[in-house]
Symmetry: C2
Subunit: 566 residues, 2 copies
């Protein structure tokens, strides 16, 4: 089952739902003309369909492996990587001054979506590098920028991020890796990092690790952390890879999925590094990288869901089983299969629209400096990440179910989507962390950004009342109950917020998804059919989720550890 | 993390929720005294904890494999199987006249639950044999019964069921395997069967295949299907395995999980078989086997959920990460982790209570011949199967999430639960098929059995109003809306029912689960804490599900195959 890039959906979403035109109307993104965007989408579709999609199963069947300290990647991955690099896709969003395309994040997001559908394990590599470019661009010295960014953009070198340590996962501040000033502008970095995606490969000339570590005078917790660039090979005077640095891949993890992406334990033994940004301000720099990576990971969930959906649809249109109401005999005519496929498609559309709206907000914030757009981007990022990935898991699981017995057989390919996508709800901040970010940090404005968004949703619903009275009323009412729930939320203690964070985030996504579908239906009557699935079948869940939110934490702590273990 | 059998829960459910006493008060089950049941549970717990649980990872790491036509099982499985057989656990529910224990299905269900938690892949083997014993006991000739049942009960021989063919999955009636009368009381069976669980092993002296096939004069569809006993080795005059039959394991599947259980493609080439039951009445006989197997598979989901829950709880009580409200520093004190664990435990309790209530209904129907109990068992079976397995998948996935990054690493063991349990929503009739059974065949009484159950739920809620006014009102109201939805349902065309079948079944399970928790809280105040999780956080979902139900099929078919592929 070959992947086909959903170009019509991207075009429609850009033109009629998320408003790419406002982005390209800014000076910063003026070069992203409709013709340019069209060419980008078309080329990215070709790359994804023809080059990357055939590699998907290779990564699973022939995992990356460690041989005598050297990572050997899956068959074809080196060629796939080269195609991504040569197409300029790594530096899509990077500034033109360093050789990037300077495209809006919205366009980058669509391209990442396609590449993730086609081959998630390989796509994770440039996604990491994109985040590193962004972090360097914002925080590194000019010398570091000049040395690293062009080589990262060209794909000659790859980038990684090194945060986690065995005792420091969600609590990054607990990290123990230390850095000492060597007095010559470099630092000696020592410590162990775990879960390092694409920590090494056999196709790039260098691997550039951004490593969080603590200087001797760094305070405990996140405020004493600094960020360092620690390359595998120390660049020589000409910027070519020179002496091998004192860092090693200790081992690769044996994972549930994403076998094509090597996940390493890294050991740094006085490895030479360069400070990125201010001392003790490493978390701020890392957040730059993480915020984009969070959107990027949400888009991974969406991409996998698209792949799983197409896979299941193709099977359902071919598999004959039992008498069907439509009489054509393929299982797509069975009501329950059609329900699953309709839900899958509606979910993908919802999540994709939210992710692209988040990307547009990022672009607008950058291009205009507007605090409102900045707040919008900040609000949507955890939703795009958590809902995109949770939805990705659910849709991949439904894809398995559509296949029946075949779904459990690995050769079918349906199960790989489920195994691969499962990690997206965990890495770059678990979905629980995303939800806590939403109800905590992102509500420090008293809910203002959320209320503003709800007003837009309700205004849009008002405008739809004439044409789609039932759907418009459903969306307006759901937004109203979300607004009321948000008012309640911001008045609670933090731990009561945290207890309801995950249900609240999902309820938020349900309302936004319904809003996106309603917007789509207003623009194109033909899209009302899918909108009805989203609004009549999926949206009602928000009410139950908000009931959960309002339960707060109390009942949870009544249940003691002893009760749980009884 | 060693498995600990939840004996206190089984005892409590038997005594205070599902009413095992009414079963043991019948003549048929009079021997299952409280002391006997206690001894059974204690012994089964020891077997599961000490013998089976250590095999769980072996099956995954060292899958069953096919070597020169012979299946080699995972390390330790032969010993584990022998322990199951020697303990008499295969014939728990089988009639004493053939050497079984004649225990109630309720007790068998608790034991299967424990064995499934401990090692699902191995537990599937006796589960298949149990079903075969039941089918033979009800439908086979006395000669076949005398020959096979004692050897199946002793574990000397194993049993399998052969339904599926490449073109005949959910639509069993499409099967092509044929049988010819050889005129000497035997038949020649020819055809290919797929997805045959435990089709062969290296620890039983014989493997007895129950095979669905069509006689030359068999009509098309399910009405022309007959059932045959086709053993791997033809029994000689003394009942010992003799000549090798003309059947072969062609290949084993490479599956998402359950690697310790060999899943085979079987080829029958004029293999000698014996007719079980009447010609052309094979489906009726097979349904005997399938109904019990459906409950058994639901219990597999529950068992895995229990294992995944215990695994996650142990991790959460040990893992330190970040400052916690309770101040003990382990992640169990984080509100979102506690929410997940509370939900997991509440879900397991709900599903287990429903499965045991189903088993009690089966026992009462057998012991009393009551049509009402029969209808209750028929109604609860698809719910126990589909909800038990769907819940099993959700809880296993939450277990992965509680582990954070560790959850994606196979060595942790959390991912195996998710991979293993995924098939339970597919085999023995997909959960979609279960839901169609519920809204179709099980509503041929006009909803009478469902209404009777709702009345019991409401009566129980009435009696709880004094002590738990909020919870009682919530359960009563939910039962009322389920009753109304059921009235609506039975007035619809079949395809409209099918479109809403899966949401309806889940809504039904939500109401029943809440009812079971309320019953538990009435019996033991200490259980009210968990009941609050189930009733306040999980039950409200039923309303959204019933909205989906009432959408019917129309909107789904507006969305054409072309729309879905757009």
């Amino acid at each position: 089952m070959p992947y086909r890039a959903p170009l019509a959906d991207f075009r429609f979403l850009f033109d009629h739902v998320v408003g790419l035109a406002q982005v390209t109307a800014t000076d910063m993104f003026a070069e992203a003309t409709p013709e340019t965007v069209e060419a980008i989408l078309t080329e990215a579709a070709k790359l994804s369909e023809n080059v990357l999609s055939p590699l998907q199963r290779n990564g699973d069947k022939h995992p990356a492996r460690l041989e005598n300290g050297v990572v050997r990647t899956s068959p074809g991955f080196a060629d796939g990587y080269r195609a991504i690099a040569d197409g300029g896709w790594i530096g899509m969003a990077a500034p033109a001054e360093h050789g990037g395309m300077g495209l809006p994040m919205a366009v980058t997001t669509a391209v990442n979506d396609m590449m993730a559908s086609a081959c998630l394990a390989l796509q994770l590599n440039p996604l990491m590098t994109q985040g590193q470019i962004e972090a360097l661009d914002h925080h590194a010295s000019d010398a570091l920028k000049a040395l690293y960014i062009p080589r990262l953009i060209s794909g000659e070198w790859c980038g990684t991020m090194n945060l986690t340590e065995p005792q420091a996962g969600s609590d990054v501040g607990a990290l123990r890796t230390r850095a000492e000033d060597l007095g010559d502008g470099t630092y000696a970095v020592t410590g162990q990092k775990i879960y390092i995606s694409w920590a090494d490969n056999d196709f790039s000339a260098n691997v550039c690790h951004l490593v969080l570590a603590r200087l001797p005078d760094g305070a405990a917790g996140t405020k004493g952390i600094s960020l360092f660039m620690v390359p595998k090979f120390l660049p020589d005077a000409d910027g070519n890879p020179g002496r091998r640095n004192s860092l090693n891949v200790v081992s690769l993890e044996h994972k549930l999925g994403l076998h094509g992406s090597p996940t390493a334990v890294m050991q740094y033994d006085g490895a030479v590094g360069w400070l990125v940004g201010e001392p003790h301000r490493g978390m701020a720099a890392m957040f730059t990288m993480m915020n984009n990576a969070r959107l990027g990971v949400g888009v991974q969930g969406i991409g996998v869901a698209e792949g799983a959906y197409q896979h299941a649809l193709a099977y359902a249109m071919e598999r004959r089983q039992g008498a069907t109401p439509g009489g054509n005999g393929t299982i797509i005519d069975h009501a329950d299969v059609r329900r699953m496929l309709g839900v899958m498609k509606a979910e993908v559309f919802s999540a994709r629209a939210i992710a692209l709206a988040c990307a547009v907000a990022i672009d607008m914030a950058r291009a205009t400096g507007s605090a409102e757009w900045q707040a919008r981007a900040a609000l949507l990022t955890p939703i795009a990440k958590a809902y995109g990935t949770e939805m990705g898991i659910e849709v991949a699981s439904m894809g398995v179910q559509v296949h029946g017995g075949m779904g459990f057989i690995e050769e079918t390919g349906a199960a790989q989507y489920l195994r691969d996508v499962r990690v997206t709800a965990i890495y770059e901040g678990t979905n629980g962390i995303q939800a806590m970010d939403l109800v905590g940090r992102k509500m420090m404005d008293g809910g203002e950004a959320a209320f503003r968004l709800m007003e837009e949703v309700q205004a849009q619903a008002e405008s739809a009342r004439g044409r789609f009275p039932n759907m418009a009323t459903a969306v307006w009412n759901a937004a109203e109950s979300l607004r009321e729930a948000t008012e309640w939320l911001v008045a609670q203690d933090m731990n009561d917020r945290f207890a309801g964070a995950v249900p609240y985030l999902r309820a938020f996504a349900r309302v936004l998804g319904a809003h996106m579908h309603l917007t789509a239906a207003l623009a194109d009557e033909g899209r009302a059919k899918l909108a009805r699935i989203a609004i009549k079948r999926l949206l009602p869940e928000h009410a139950a989720l908000l009931v959960q939110l309002r339960e707060g934490a109390a009942g949870l702590y009544d249940l003691t550890a002893e009760d749980l273990a009884a």
